[in-house]
């Protein structure tokens, strides 16, 4: 349904250039729940914005293809692009606090979107709004919708944003760190709601997060990004069971587990994620990697599917691709 091919996004800086996304390949099939994980500066949010051509200024898509249902998003005229946004692709923001127009009512948000994409009349959209708000768990939707965003709590606002995202029956839902601004119990509520809605309406979804725990529970397939590139992609089960990229492995080890005993030692990855200001060849993770060789520093590893080996060991069932010269073999680490 969605196909991204060699996407590159860059931001001009006061001096030089910031390469936010450097050759991203990605596909989402109908009904699939894709997770995109990465640390700050990995390009995950920018990639998501680029899908609906919403890269914030002064950034721009410098090359690549984005196909949504076969049509080229990059070449789409403004009118069709607007039909795509909201109508085909729904977006859920990171900060619900600032994502609603503060001077128009909640109902008005729905009304304008429903009129635009579904051509509903005022009365029809009122009914539909109540129905939508109820489905996302807003108590007393009839009177709530006549209020303004500042009268809602953070969790409630995010529920409204979700209702707004699915209002016009899109086929793809993109959620950019939808729970980062929320408390853990509210996060659980929102994720549960997200899961339910995606399942009910058979939506495809892209969930962008830095939290591996969220990916584990709420996605089918994962893309791990680092410094604007995809490091590894696999089904969730596969990735957690057999991480193949040293970065993925390191990341999984870094995350403290609730159920683990206290050991007083923490697995770490030395260094910190880079800010990419030159698009040099070589693996971006090389400076922090413990398996680094001279090749890693000079040649960029391609994202390749892990194929069957002669001895048949360590291989993925479905699709599992990794961009690494020296991937971690299955069984190599406990």
């Amino acid at each position: 349904m969605l196909e991204i091919d060699d996407l590159r996004v860059s931001f001009p800086l006061e001096r030089g250039m910031l390469y936010a996304v450097r050759g991203l390949d990605l596909t989402v099939r109908a009904g699939e729940r894709l997770g995109v994980v990465g640390e700050s500066g990995s390009g995950k949010s920018v990639s998501a914005a680029a899908i609906a051509r919403m890269v914030p200024a002064p950034g721009r898509i410098s090359s690549g293809h984005i196909r949504f249902d076969g049509s080229d998003v990059i070449g789409l005229p403004e009118r069709d692009l607007r039909r795509l946004r909201g109508g085909q692709i729904g977006m859920i923001p990171q900060s619900p606090q600032t994502s609603m127009n503060p001077v128009i009512t909640i109902e008005a948000h729905f009304q304008e979107a429903l009129a635009l994409h579904l051509g509903l009349s005022k009365a029809q959209s009122s009914d539909r709004t109540i129905e939508l708000l109820r489905s996302v768990g807003i108590p007393d939707p009839g009177s709530r919708m006549r209020g303004y965003q500042h009268q809602l709590s953070g969790g409630m606002r995010q529920r409204v944003m979700i209702a707004l995202a699915i209002a016009c029956e899109p086929r793809l839902l993109i959620a950019d760190e939808p729970t980062t601004a929320l408390d853990v119990t509210i996060q659980a509520q929102i994720l549960e709601l997200f899961d339910r809605l995606v399942a009910e309406s058979d939506l495809a979804s892209i969930l962008i997060t830095h939290n591996l725990g969220i990916v584990a529970g709420h996605c089918d397939r994962v893309v791990v990004m680092y410094a604007g590139k995809v490091m590894e992609t696999a089904t969730v089960a596969e990735l957690f069971a057999r991480p193949s990229h040293p970065y993925t492995l390191g990341l999984l080890r870094c995350v403290p587990r609730l159920t683990a005993a206290r050991t007083r030692t923490f697995a770490t990855i030395p260094g910190s994620p880079p800010r990419v200001t030159e698009d040099a060849p070589g693996c971006p993770f090389a400076p922090r990697c413990d398996r680094v060789t001279a090749q890693c520093r000079t040649e960029t590893p391609e994202l390749l599917r892990i194929g069957a080996r002669a001895d048949g060991s360590g291989f993925a069932s479905g699709e599992h691709s990794v961009a690494c010269w020296h991937p971690v073999e299955f069984g190599e680490v406990a």
Partner: protein, 298 residues
């Protein structure tokens, strides 16, 4: 002892400091740079007036009064036959003295009040706010006018009264700055370390607040030129025979239809000075805080 992992991110090669970055931005802004040069030239003229001016500011040539530009008087003469160019050059002296002196005085009065109000809040702030209110109610110009009318005029008094009436802006700005800085984490961190309050106010907060205050000072200069020249123009400011641009305007208005130069020379001087200081101030603001112009282009 477990090895402490060293964060291996290469520490970026010495990036220029805050002021140096600001200077680089300022330099790239052509309008601001040119204005800055004009400002420097005006200030040099004011300082070096006796060396530059072809004549004294009170040398009269009654035979040649209200004469347009000539070889002897490049910009013509006024009603008493005084050389307009010389008077304009000496006028820069008086005008700049007031234009810079008065805001400085305002800053000296206003900034401490603003700092205390912003930092201590509560009762101190309440009193300060009421004080602000009283002073906002009557426009600054009227306050200064009243004071000058009541207490008489001289260059010194002009500075004093314009300075007194301009403290409000500095106090407001300093208060706003300190309020926004007061709750910043680094202040709490300094308190946690045990840094005494005076040290926090001066060593921690002043460097962060000083940029906007300096810019405000520069931007107050054209406003002061406006007021001081204005008062002289009304006949309330600088008195004969001293030269001042506003005074020259006052002298010239009556002869507007006879000799335009008597009005145009001071008009151009005032315009040039106010514009130069203004563009320069704007350039400084943009240099210190690029977001003020490029607003949120994240």
């Amino acid at each position: 002892m477990t090895a402490i992992t060293v964060d291996t991110k290469p520490i970026t090669a010495a990036t220029p400091g805050f002021w140096r970055t600001a200077w680089r931005r300022f330099r790239r802004n052509k309008l601001a740079l040119v204005s800055g040069i004009v400002v420097v030239l005006i200030l040099l003229t004011a300082i070096l007036a006796p060396l530059i001016a072809p004549q004294g500011y009170q040398v009269q040539d009654l035979a040649n009064s209200l004469a347009g530009p000539s070889r002897g008087h490049l910009l013509g003469t006024d009603r008493l036959g005084r050389d307009l160019l010389s008077r304009a050059i000496y006028g820069a002296r008086t005008s700049m003295l007031v234009a810079i002196g008065a805001p400085l005085l305002g800053a000296v009065i206003g900034i401490p009040i603003g700092i205390l109000a912003g930092w201590y809040g509560r009762a101190v702030d309440f009193v300060a706010l009421r004080l602000f209110e009283i002073f906002t109610m009557v426009p600054q110009i009227l306050v200064a006018l009243l004071l000058i009318a009541l207490f008489g005029n001289s260059v010194g008094k002009l500075i004093l009264f314009l300075g007194i009436s301009s403290w409000l802006g500095f106090a407001r700005l300093a208060r706003a700055q300190y309020i926004s800085l007061r709750n910043r984490d680094f202040v709490l961190a300094a308190q946690a370390v045990g840094v005494p309050t005076w040290r926090i106010l001066i060593i921690h907060l002043l460097p962060s607040a000083v940029g906007p205050l300096i810019i405000f000072l520069v931007q107050e200069i054209p406003a002061t030129i406006f007021a001081s020249a204005g008062f002289s123009f009304l006949g309330l400011g600088v008195q004969d025979p001293l030269a001042d641009w506003g005074k020259m305007l006052n002298d010239g208005t009556q002869y507007l239809s006879i000799d335009l130069w008597t009005v145009m020379v001071p008009t151009v001087c005032i315009a040039l000075a106010t514009l130069a200081f203004s563009f320069c101030g704007d350039g400084m603001r943009d240099a210190i805080d690029p977001s003020s112009r490029q607003s949120a282009s994240r």
